[in-house]
């Protein structure tokens, strides 16, 4: 952390655009929160209502939206999308560690596998037969990569990732620890009170620029491949069942479950713990709120929600008791309407 490279604000706007207000020679080298920032740190504010906090920060510079008022003493970069600008600046300050080429002596690489010499295979990793690993790939400690799987250039597998046989992972992907790709889907057929396993002979195909959060699982297809489109971002502990297709640039928050053969469109957003039924289709640009179970196809873009509103336990008890009889309550209202209609009619 000590010999961090620093940049002048003018260097930053030259690189990423935006309007620089204040001293272009201010040198910054890291991003920080408003509270923790010091004079070599950059902060950002994406929502106008937090602008008031700027007066207390010790940051060297701020990234602000065009709606920021002008009366600020701090050096600042004004831009259209402060959060994305911040992402660029932070990536500049915090480049990902490059692969240290080589296969660790405790790693086990099958002699039929092709591992580019620029790639890194960490300790206790195991690489199967005919695996193809591209350039500058990092395979973390304790990872397993099954036979015939391919991993594209610049992809990183963190530690203890399991990728089964016959899967394809694109370029520039980030796969976090504990992820399992290509396990058998839950294909079982009932016969005489027991379950027969359906062999899962498809694979998993993951596009470029996909990030997969820790302990997420993506099952292989029953017959064809499970498909994850390019630029999809998956948070932790997501379950993606067999035969699912997820369109490009869709973002899915943690703990979501997507049941078998569901198709999710492009540029969708699924909130945490949302659950998607099997065999349904969700259009492009759909947002599903956290905790919502979607049991029907959605053909129209928009935001969909289905969450029981929480309350104190006492109020919940009362309301839930009525909910259990809601159909009866509706019937009583119908009766009242009928009665009142009749009563009224009887009064001239």
């Amino acid at each position: 952390m000590s010999r961090r490279k620093s940049y002048r604000l003018a260097d930053i706007t030259a690189k990423f655009g935006g309007e620089l207000i204040g001293d272009p020679g201010v040198r910054v080298s890291q991003v920080a929160t408003l509270e923790a920032a010091g004079p070599t740190d950059v902060v950002f504010i994406s929502r106008p209502r937090y602008l008031g906090q700027l007066s207390n920060t010790k940051a060297g510079a701020a990234i602000l939206g065009a709606d920021a008022p002008e009366a600020q003493s701090i050096a600042r970069i004004v831009c259209a999308n402060p959060y994305a600008y911040f992402a660029n600046v932070s990536a500049l300050f915090n480049p990902a560690a490059p692969a240290v080429p080589g296969v660790h002596k405790t790693a086990v690489v099958d002699k039929s596998a092709r591992v580019d010499k620029t790639s890194s295979i960490a300790a206790a990793a195991v690489i199967g037969k005919r695996v193809r690993i591209g350039r500058r790939v990092q395979v973390g400690a304790g990872c397993f990569v099954g036979d015939d799987t391919a991993i594209g250039d610049d992809t990183v597998l963190h530690s203890n990732v399991s990728v089964y046989h016959g899967c394809q992972i694109g370029m520039r992907c980030i796969v976090h620890a504990g992820v399992v790709i290509g396990a058998d889907g839950f294909g079982i057929a009932q016969e005489a009170g027991t379950w027969k396993k359906i062999p899962q002979i498809g694979g998993v195909e993951i596009g470029d620029d996909v990030e997969i959060g820790a302990n997420t699982t993506i099952d292989r297809g029953t017959l064809d491949n499970t498909l994850i489109g390019e630029g999809v971002k998956l948070d932790n502990q997501i379950q993606i069942a067999h035969n699912v297709k997820i369109g490009a640039h869709t973002a899915i928050a943690a703990c979501v479950g997507i049941a078998g053969s569901a198709t999710i469109g492009r540029n969708c957003a699924l909130g945490g713990a949302a659950m998607i039924y099997g065999h349904i289709t969700i259009a492009d640009n759909v947002s599903v709120s956290a905790g919502t179970l979607v049991m029907k196809s959605l053909a129209q873009p928009g935001t969909y929600t289905g969450v029981y509103p929480f309350s104190t336990h006492q109020r919940w008890l009362k309301n839930a008791a009525q909910l259990r009889n809601l159909d009866e309550l509706a019937e009583r209202v119908r009766e009242l309407e009928a009665k009142l209609g009749k009563d009224k009619g009887s009064q001239p």
Copy 2:
């Protein structure tokens, strides 16, 4: 894939029964979807409404139910349960890879462990003291098997599975990557504002023919064993707490949580993300819908559901606002009824 063994349709019906309609000499070697199938592939249709798609497939043969209309040009096997028949055919075409006997040189097997010489211990696997591993078992790369645990014949542990000490896994089980069996249950006793750990001295006992999906966790018992009955099928990312008992041939979809000391009957089906309270008992042949939280024992077979119906966010906002006041709404209906009863009574 290239030198796949092929079968005549007559061979298949000789093996699995069903009525063969069309050329018994048609040779097939793989199962496929209707869209992807070619002349050496078999397709199946389990629901009559998909039968129309048969006319476009290039498949060599189809597996159909007895309700399939006769006017089909494709060679076909008609049977009572097409999905189970398909499972049999796919298993015939896609036999599981046998164990390649031997202990990899990077695996660590305690000298007191007994590993049958027909079994396979993959690279970087670690086998504890007094572990007993049966015949033709496959222990995947990076697995850990704790002291005194036993694994039955023909069971497969995929990569990076952790089995704690003192557990028993039956025969012909399939345990997918990242599964954890036998971790401590969540046993804590409150005292003076802090939590004391209750040692979890039971184990986990898993019957024969159980499949366990990726990253599922099954905790050891507090005093006695957590029990998973024979033929139980568990999908990915299921959490089974300490002291749970699951009856034989129950199937549980992904993301389900079963709290401590719950007892689930035989031949039950739990939909994805269903949640089962602790200390309750669920009878045999119960189905719980996806996303349903069961907080009471269920003594009767049947299907149980409790899911907030989703809608557009705008409609949800309106309905949820009323749900928060449902008890009051019911009271207003009661008042209307009382008033109307009185009004009515006052009219001779």
Copy 3:
């Protein structure tokens, strides 16, 4: 199990207090359930309603609350908090296995790491650069500990745990198999229909006496650290997002998800599968019921619930249909009230 150490009841009350009724010389060596207990086992009953079962147990002694009736033939210890007393007795009978000092020959420890010589690094574990591992620490098989991470005295990592770089774990923690600590938080900024990654440069800081259940994930902070307070107990498959803060001695059941930047107070209890929105604050001493989604900050202690009550599927269909139109039903009640008010007003 055979040469287990035994204790006289008098030894136990001398150590942990409580009132001993019956023969102080009874020797016991293990805890058990009422059904399984034999003459050298101790049982406990925390709720008066189970006291009737005491008459059938073969246990050597029982731990009971002050509310237990006196007419019991079994030797017994009467105390204020039988469950906590049982925890103490069980811990006495079942001490955790101590670390067997040493680094396994297949473990890989970077030469810049400092591992106390009393600690144990198991087979296939990988320890990064400048890692500091305290005294009597146990690092399980297949674990990965990233650069610059520190692990406090007497902490246990079970098998296949992944701890990323730059994290801190306190003393006497227990981290179960498959846990991932310090993976990148889900920080993405949208720009032109694609997602930019926000580097996650904070770490994770875990206090003393924390237990973390199997396959739980705790993400590193975006800028500052994600914080888990001392004495926090986390069950399995919990997801804790970046920048979350959890107060001391809070207990969280399995499958809970806590979204980014949420702050949870001290001594809270979150039921299984509860979901906490991002950027909200929950006060000390709040209980959230299982399956409840909390979408607003909670400033007051108390119990909060929001769960759709389950029923048979048929009843659910009827009630859910009405719930979809609840706003309309409320409007109809308003109309009835208006009409009835008018009607009534028109009657002198």
